[in-house]
Amino acid sequence: MKFADFVCPDAIIPELQSTDRDAVIEELVAAIARAGAIPKTRQKLLAAAVIERENEASTGMGKGIAVPHAKHKAVKKMVAAIGLSSKGIDFSSLDKQPVYSVVLLLSPADAADRHLQAMEKIFRHLNQEKFRKFLRQCQTAEEVRELLKEADEDPSLMQ
């Protein structure tokens, strides 16, 4: 699977306005709704689902990244948003460190396999120190889109 298959190009926020976890989740879900990938009427419901999932166990995996997500029947097609924060966000991460890069993933309720494939793609790259560094250094949404495009074209490039 490629980033292009699920990352919404219009839901990339190079500098998140919010600084706390729940507000960041709401900001990213709102960006997906604004881009038209989920109905605006379901925006609050879906943000609440992601926050509820986050409360069960943090998706702050360490190394400055978090991957909040939810599977929900209000989602018709899997979609992800990406947000960067230069200040850092407290995600109650495993390593207790702030999060600088957030990939938020919304999946339909009945698409477990595609959800796993998207996670595989996300972590294959986030596991690479170089990729994490490049992502954090992006100043504009366009730079993030370029980075994802490079990773899609040559997945070994970042390794």
């Binding site: 166990a57 360490g62 595989e120």
Partner: protein
């Protein structure tokens, strides 16, 4: 703990014990049986169990030819192990057999405390 229940584990354990100079190696094929597959919460449970043991633990998904560290949640998230996938789990170290048995119990018996797929109508 009765590792003899699974014949393949018992045999490997005997082989390992014969050669006391080498670290014991224990291996098992574990099938993912819960409907949602090895998503993040199950992967965290796996990593939690794996970290209770001193041995090194690697996990391979031969479908996408990837081998990862069974004690790292970031790496385990790369397995994309859907329901029905068989993972090859290899433990190397003094408590290898106990680790494999604990992981087998988590993956195949308890199925990460998640439901199996619904039967097709």
């Amino acid at each position: 703990m009765n590792v003899g229940r699974n014949p393949s584990i018992g045999v490997l354990r005997l082989q390992a014990e014969k050669d006391s100079l080498k670290q014991p190696v224990c291996q098992a094929d574990l099938q993912i049986k819960n409907a949602d597959g090895l998503h993040m919460r199950p992967a965290m449970q796996f990593v939690d169990v794996a970290n209770r043991f001193d041995c090194d633990i690697t996990v391979s998904n031969e479908q996408n030819r990837i081998t990862v560290d069974g004690k790292s949640i970031m790496e385990m998230s790369m397995l994309a192990a859907t329901c029905g996938t068989t993972l090859k789990v290899t433990a190397t170290g003094p408590d290898a057999a106990e680790a494999i048995e604990a992981l087998r119990e988590l993956v195949e018996e308890r199925m990460f405390n998640e439901p199996p797929p619904k039967k097709k109508k």
